[in-house]
Amino acid sequence: MTMIFGVPVQALMGQLLVGLINGSFYALLSLGLAVIFGLLRVINFAHGAQYMLGAFVALLLLTVGGINYWLALILAPLIVGLFAALVEKTMLSRLYRLDPLYGLLFTFGLALAIEGTFRWFFGASGKPYAPPSQLTGAVNLGFMFLPVYRGWVVIASLAVCLGVWLLIERTRLGAYLRAATENPVLVQAFGVNVPLLLTLTYALGAGLAGFAGVLAAPVYQVSPLMGSNLIIIVFAVVVVGGMGSILGAIVTGYLLGVVEGLTKVFYPEASNIVIFVIMAIVLILRPAGLFGKDA
């Protein structure tokens, strides 16, 4: 058996893949958080609940409406985004003028309310969601077997992250968003409907979480608490990448996923805390985060 640093190649590659998959979810989720925080200055504690909503909407679309995975991959993020837009318009938007703490408390409360509602109706146990038939099975890569669906998760998340990055960095709408992140009042004085931009941005961030939720449904099980388990790690990713940094959120998401995976190989006992240790070190050495601008 081939060994690298005294570890079988299969084990190393297997954990690398697990790390890359987890990293895919970290990247999608921290990207949404970063976009929302950048413009709205709201730390969106409901992000995990919105991720869970995406998975549940996909499950319900399938079981109630008979709508397949591929359609759900488009519909569920739209539904989650629409719900988020409604929440922003009717409630969250009233809190912008107050202390940022109110936005944090509101979204935290919202997360508890959503998760509580789903626990009431569906219980706390996970429900399986079968991957689509096109993505079952595994490919032999020579050094390991790659489950097709897991490969798809990595590709799909990379594509969406790249798409969102291009949207923000290369389009007119993205220029509005970047400018409004710096100086919303002036952008509005130029005639841009900034309140609408805020709503769309919150919907985009939540939609990304919903998309991650659908992707995750066949990998993990669909359960009301699936988001709250993940969201704490994602917050750490955002802090390491630098609050509000788009590229930082994406790169750090994949990076920390891989680091976590490798830690499982070399020092499994530390794998649950390695991300938080890195966060602590980054906060000491570079408080603005790896990609953040120094304040």
Partner: protein, 234 residues
């Protein structure tokens, strides 16, 4: 005389609890360049910000092109034809020079084309792919003005365009203002640089403690010099 393009009456405004405008009255005719003079902290910038609708705690009357602007939301003010160039210039660091230029949406036909703008400000063409805030202070001021000229705004609210700039740049800005005037642009200029203002403005208001205390045309300037030296300390 036809109705003024901009008509401000008994305008009062507050920053929180602090009452900063105490009944501003001013009119600006179409195509006119009007300059508001006054010492620091007398409410000149606040007057522009209140007319633009950035400062919302306000009472009184603001009419632009015959339209009551008091209830108009901030993002509709620009569409009425008012363009704002803030004192701090407001160039965005996360946008390139060209992105900064293209940022404000067009509000009417008749604005300058990008080619015309680059002809007027050749430096901006050269540096169009640089980060907006990498420009020099003078170039940033040019960019802040240029991006409003693209939109087709009828009236430019221009806050201290010469502040902190070298004399040669100030001259260039003066040339731009004269060119705009020949195109029929209406300008409300806030300025501390009295010599600069005397070259470009048609009419002056003197502002003191949140209200206009004097008004005179550029022809009346020599007669006002003693008073201005006293009031402005120039």
């Amino acid at each position: 005389m036809s109705a003024p393009l901009l008509n401000v009456g008994d305008l009062q405004a507050w920053y929180g609890e602090s009452h900063v405008l105490h009944g501003v009255n001013m009119t600006v005719a179409e195509g006119e360049t009007v300059c508001i003079l006054g010492r620091n902290g007398m409410g000149k910038t606040t007057t522009l910000r209140t007319i633009m609708g950035i400062l919302r705690k306000r009472t009184g009357r603001i009419e632009f092109a015959g339209r009551d602007m008091m209830g108009v939301p901030l993002h509709h003010t620009a569409r009425a034809g008012l363009g704002f160039v803030p004192e701090e210039r407001g160039i965005f660091a996360s946008l390139s020079v060209e992105e900064n230029l293209m940022l404000p949406p067009k509000v009417a036909e008749g604005g300058m084309s990008v080619d015309e703008i680059y002809e007027l400000f050749p430096n901006l063409r050269e540096r169009r792919n640089s980060q907006g805030t990498k420009l020099s202070g003078g170039e940033q001021q040019m960019l802040a003005m240029a991006r409003i000229l693209r939109t087709g705004a009828r009236c430019l609210l221009l806050d201290e365009p010469t502040e902190g700039l070298a004399p040669v740049i100030i001259d260039a800005i003066g040339e731009v203002l004269k060119k705009l005037k020949s195109r029929g642009m209406t300008v409300v200029l806030v300025e501390q640089n009295f010599r600069f203002a005397a070259k470009v403005a048609d009419r002056f208001y003197l502002m003191d403690h949140g209200r206009m205390t004097a008004e005179f045309p550029v022809a009346g300037l020599p007669a006002q010099m003693d008073m201005l030296h006293r009031e402005l300390g120039v």
